[in-house]
């Protein structure tokens, strides 16, 4: 059923004679190609669901492989000028370009993923992936026999650091003695580097591997070496037919549905949307066939605890140099999480400055 009021509202909003028949135009702009299979793919999957969900009410388009900086600003400007009413810029690196372009196009709604700056027509959104990481970390801690878990990190930015910390807290909730070894490969997309890091982690004794990179090479290598793996961003189980433990997948759809609905309803606000398990924005998918049923149930119970209000970053939490970072009885605020630049106790590795 199509609302008769809606086109009228749109008409007054855009003051365009043709708005009557026209769907809301929504554009997505990504830094990495969808073809690398990680972060960008998770957004693309959500865009497809969004289009199906809203049907004729919206029309979406996607541009990928846009370099941050001048290129991003040019593409954003073009998208706004082309008459897209809503533009999602999905990379942290697009933040300043989005701010500048949003100022020039006050009638267009901009949304920026993973950033912290908002403006009158610029909102931000992010997934509390550290919650999914925490749950997966718990499972990893339970299954690890050696008590050493390998983590292939890309760049030491807060988003990645938060994931490592959430994961390690989960690991230690299952096994307080366990250690998470981190190797930084300083690339999102070099599959070969992921492989090399994974090989080293396994030869140092890791028997569960996880990664924060675009490609699934770490998962695949872990499977070849016969150790468990925790996939990230999308369902990576196809790359580890034997030893896939679970994947922590991003589900952007609830956030996109909410944001687009708000624009359609004309009550959109430039909020900082941060969705977690409560919106099913971070999900554990594709449990491996050899993971014990009992463990899956345990993790489900832990997820219920998170739903019930248990915080992942609840004090006392010390960093891996021994200094107390979150005091007994307090919980890390969103600001602290957004700027997180220290590694929790139990992480073997350092965050270089």
């Amino acid at each position: 059923m199509r609302s008769l009021i809606l086109p009228g509202l749109l008409c007054s909003l855009f003051a365009a004679p043709l708005a009557f028949a026209e769907p809301l135009r929504v554009a997505f702009m990504h830094e990495n190609p969808v073809g690398q299979g990680g972060w960008t793919l998770s957004h693309e999957l959500a865009r497809e669901r969004l289009q199906t969900h809203f049907g004729d009410q919206i029309s979406t388009r996607m541009l990928d492989g846009i370099a941050p900086g001048g290129d991003a600003e040019r593409v954003l400007t073009k998208l706004a000028r082309d008459g897209n009413a809503m533009i999602f810029a999905t990379s942290y690196g697009f933040m300043n370009s989005a701010l500048r372009v949003a100022r020039r196009f006050p009638r267009t709604t901009f949304e920026h993923a993973a950033g912290y700056n908002t403006a009158r027509n610029l909102g931000t959104y992010q997934i509390r992936a550290f919650q999914g990481r925490f749950l997966a970390g718990y499972a990893a801690g339970k299954l690890s026999r050696s008590g050493r878990i390998g983590y292939v990190g890309s760049f030491p930015i807060p988003e990645v650091v938060r994931g490592i910390n959430g994961f390690t807290l989960g690991v230690r909730a299952a096994n307080p003695e366990a250690i998470v070894d981190v190797i930084w490969i300083t690339t999102w997309s070099d599959a070969g580097r992921s492989r090399e890091a994974t090989q080293l982690l396994v030869s140092q004794g890791a028997d569960v591997i996880t990664h924060h990179t675009e490609t699934a090479a770490a998962i695949q290598t872990a499977d070849q070496l016969g150790v468990w793996s925790v996939g990230y961003q999308t369902d990576r189980s196809a790359f580890a037919p034997e030893h896939h433990l679970v994947s922590v997948a991003h589900n952007w759809f609830p956030i996109y549905r909410y944001k687009v609905q708000a624009v359609l309803d004309e009550n959109w606000q430039p909020t900082q949307e941060w969705a977690g398990v409560e919106a099913d924005a971070t999900q554990l998918v594709s449990w491996g066939k050899r993971v014990p049923e009992e463990l899956i149930n345990e993790v489900a119970a832990l997820r219920e605890e998170l739903l019930g209000g248990r915080a992942v970053f609840a004090g006392p939490i010390a960093d891996n140099e021994g200094a107390e970072r979150i005091a007994q009885g307090s919980v890390a605020s969103d600001e602290e999480l957004l700027a997180m630049e220290w590694l929790v106790e139990g992480v073997n590795g350092s965050r270089p400055d």
Partner: protein, 307 residues
Amino acid sequence: MDLIFIADLLAATLAATVPLALCVTGVVIGERSGVLNLGQEGIMLMGAVCAFMVALNSGSYLLASLAGAAVGAAMGAAFALLTLVFQSNAVATGLALTIFGTGLSAFLGEAYVGESISGLGPLLPEALRTVPLLGPVFFGHDALFYAALVLCLLVHRVLHTQRVGLMVSAVGENPETAHRLGLPVLRTRWLTAIIGCAFTGLGGAYLAIVYTPLWTEGMTAGRGWIALALVVLAGWRVSWGLLAAFGFGFISISNLVLQGLGVTIPVNLLATLPFVMCLLALVIVSSGRRSEREPPRSLGQTYIKEN
């Protein structure tokens, strides 16, 4: 750091070296005859995506390797057609080939993202592979690894010890004189352009069907460019090229190892190490006045046949 760990490290480095070594060998073949092809990155990507597609659909790694090499050869032929027949500028044509290969491989591979193949297993019997230390380092590799090694050594032998190699060098050093001596300059360059690029395509195939048996856009991550630099470093000799490829692989893996050992050098600084070493080596190489380390004199120049 125990011996087993060092053995693991060497084995990993050797495997990491193969794509680079194949590409370096391919570049040496072309450049010794004066063919400067900067399209290596694009050719490698095309080799990778086509090999992956064939491996996934046919299940045959032999066919997939051949497909990678064949696509490389086809791109080499296109390069030869443009630069030798239509006499386009070699640098511009090579760059165009990189852009073309990067784009086309992304387009062709779109449907193959998220697909996985099992990869090629070890070739040699268990008994050899489990020899302490030596086993994992030298005997634990796959068939394509040994094939690549044999191919590169064969090229070394042909280019540096056989009459054909001297012919190729003569064409690369001074095509006019070579022509007057009765050597087929254009035919030589056609062949070296095609064979060289077949090696590069095979290097891409190794990446996509053996090393990390998956396809992701831009998966060569600059290896084609690094190979071009390593050839300069190696003074256009295959043996030094292979050594340089191994050295580069070793340094870039060492960067990961040092992190694992808890050495607190800033990661970004560590990541620049292979490139810094490359630059240093280049400076050392070019400061020693050794004529055999100089580039082929007609490298990248357009050759117009005299009558």
